[in-house]
Point group: C2
Chain length 418, copies 2
């Protein structure tokens, strides 16, 4: 992957110096044994780890230097690295010199994602959030304030989901438009048809479908802030007659439509709710309807990184294709097309990181330095998850089993493709 | 679906009159009760059912008339329809007037595919055939004689798998070439690369890849007759230096290749063998290799029709996508692309039926009338299975999890597509 865009933007870190005197006393034998444990786990990676007693020095070319700045941070890292690394990094108690992305890619490659202890701690998490749990989870992430997201998402459609770089030279704005066209073409939307959407975001895709394909859209979202924004945006663009924003859970959808679509919501649904979602996905399309689900996924099942689950995205669960089949198989739905565009999410995130760093002072003004570091870690860590294949991006097109009006080939998706 | 091609060819049937006098005595109360059972099961379908005492008459427009010609046939049909219908039809003890395809589509729509009794009888069947079982199963079907298959398959590449009608007006010859190009484009084969194939058929695809893409192919088959044919064909086309035919089970594959491909073999592998096949599919490609599996499948799990399993295809099991994930998930393989082209198989089969009927006298000369009727039923019944969605056709492209050399988009597959 081309990282030339990242490096000059200085996604690097020099900590901001938390640590009291006692926690920084000379490392003892136990401290050194714990350090060796970490080094052994990292194997032959280019990551060098040091404790607070070693001097603050620049890493050799091609290596990354991670310094743990106090004793308690060291213990926390050994006990549950995937949970505590994020907090320690955010608080400046871990210092990283060199490319943060390289560090995180190596971390994905050289460590198992969840320690046994970590897995134990996560047992309590619900695999099928109910309505109030979903509302709480969604509020945590999406109601951080529209102003925050506008600082680094694409400026035209505010898409907080994977873009589609039909041509790798596209800007993030072009690639988000291309993503929306890609989905509409797969669904073969025609003017006058009706579409129901689960998860509106800020309304960008609903408004895009209405504006570009002349369809009537009914779209569901439980984020109060996003819905308010979307309604104002719809009014401003004169699309109120075509798009209805419903502030409600997708589980309360009714009626029959020509197409169902959901971009970036399945991650929040919970595997235990898939059979029910699938029943809904069948119910809301007629016998000849079709639908598309766009979601982050995995090649094999694993829990979400504990820190991301705790601080960034509570309750998020990227499913495997096998888990997704819980939507289709029991509900007599037929899978027509699955596309995995995971590398496009890495590229999308590169653009987001670039914009984020360009506007980092504004982010700091909205929140604080800990928040700045936490989101930097989350965004750069996500690039690493997609480049190393820990995460996938699936688009799944479906219809009812035995439907006759299914696309004959996929050539229509690629007409006039760059 | 356009059936104009089928009807003038007279895929109709008038029985050939098996039945002794006693079995054709006046229907009694039990006979009539059994008849009502069948009629009730068929619901409001256009299928009319009669017994041996009713006159032999043409069906009304749009209906199909099925006459059961003796008492024992009636009993067999009630007890285990999906097993016995095929034998009774083949033996001429069931007579069908009107379009056989309509009858079979209705049968798929209006009856459950396996009666409870049928499921019980099938319990003994192995879900993971071993080497000798596989050999026996494959011999049963593929060693019927190359002359037989040459009567009705495409004349250029002898492809006994789903074609790809990039343009619906293509002939079966064109569509089989298009299918092979479609697979090669998905795999992005480049001259000089090495390909390993599981299941050679008559060698048509291996020779096609060598001739059109300049790759070295090593291909495995356990059908003696097919291998002998393929080797002669390879010599005749001067491709011996590029293609090696190995008469052995796919489980004995060794080495590392740029690509793995398997068209129409997974149906014979058995779900219990999928994790092992997946391990092999990972082993035989290097870290940057890729592979494609093309197989008949299902939207939800079911046993193969009992008659087809007994008479035509012993041991065949079309998997669901969820079952197929047993190859990918435990072996750290990443699914890149899934395409479902089930309607192309219905069209492929229409062509095969047309050719079959054009050459039916030659088939009869090779075998007998029972064989002719059995294969007609199998081929037309397969059209019905694909049009009604009882069967699917999946092409699944994969690479190792985290591979960097995966296709950026699928646009290259559709360059110069009609």
């Amino acid at each position: 992957m081309d990282r030339s865009r990242l490096e000059p933007l200085g996604v690097r870190d020099d900590g901001f110096g938390y640590a009291d005197a006692e926690a920084r006393s000379q490392p003892n034998a136990l401290d050194k044994w714990m350090l060796r444990t970490i080094i052994t786990k990292l194997g032959d990676s280019p990551v060098r780890v040091a404790l607070w007693d070693e001097p603050d020095m620049a890493p050799r070319e091609g290596t990354v230097r991670l310094r743990i700045l106090d004793r308690k941070a060291l213990w926390m890292l050994v006990i549950h690295p995937d949970l505590h690394f994020g907090d320690l990094y955010s608080a400046g108690r871990i210092e990283v010199r060199g490319d943060l992305l390289t560090l995180l890619e190596e971390a994905y490659r050289y460590t198992t994602e969840n320690t046994a202890l970590g897995a134990l701690l996560e047992r309590g998490r619900s695999l099928a959030p109910d309505l109030s749990e979903s509302k709480r989870n969604i509020h945590h992430h999406y109601d951080l304030g529209n102003d925050f997201y506008k600082l680094w998402l694409d400026r035209e459609a505010l898409q907080y989901t994977c873009a589609y770089f039909a041509d790798p030279a596209m800007t993030i704005e072009q690639a988000q438009q291309a993503k929306m066209h890609h989905v509409c073409r797969k669904l073969q939307l025609k003017a006058g048809e009706t579409v129901v959407e689960a998860g509106s975001g800020w309304g960008g895709f609903a408004l895009f479908m209405a504006e570009n394909y002349g369809v009537h859209v009914r779209t569901f979202n439980i984020s109060k802030e996003q819905i308010a924004f979307a309604r104002a945006w719809s009014k401003q663009r004169g699309l109120e007659h075509l798009v209805e924003f419903v502030e409600d859970d997708y589980r309360n959808m009714t009626g029959t439509h020509d197409a169902f679509v959901s971009i970036g919501m399945l991650e929040h649904v919970g595997v235990g709710n898939y059979p029910g979602l699938g029943a809904l996905m069948k119910r809301v399309i007629g016998p000849n309807g079709r639908g598309l689900v766009h979601t982050i996924g995995r090649d094999s099942p694993a829990m979400l990184n504990a820190w991301i689950d705790k601080r960034i995205f509570p309750g998020a669960q990227p499913p495997t294709l096998r888990q997704m089949m819980d939507m289709f198989e029991p509900n007599d739905l037929s899978v027509l097309d699955v596309e995995n565009i995971r590398l496009h999410y890495a590229k999308t995130l590169e653009w987001w990181v670039q914009r984020y760093e360009e506007n980092v002072d504004a982010v700091r003004a909205l929140f604080d330095e800990t928040f700045v570091r936490a989101w930097r870690l989350y965004l750069v860590g996500s690039i690493a998850a997609f480049t190393t294949g820990k995460l996938q991006l699936f688009q799944v097109l479906y219809a009812r089993s035995g439907a006759k009006d299914v696309p004959w080939t996929r050539a229509h998706v690629y007409r006039d493709h760059p």
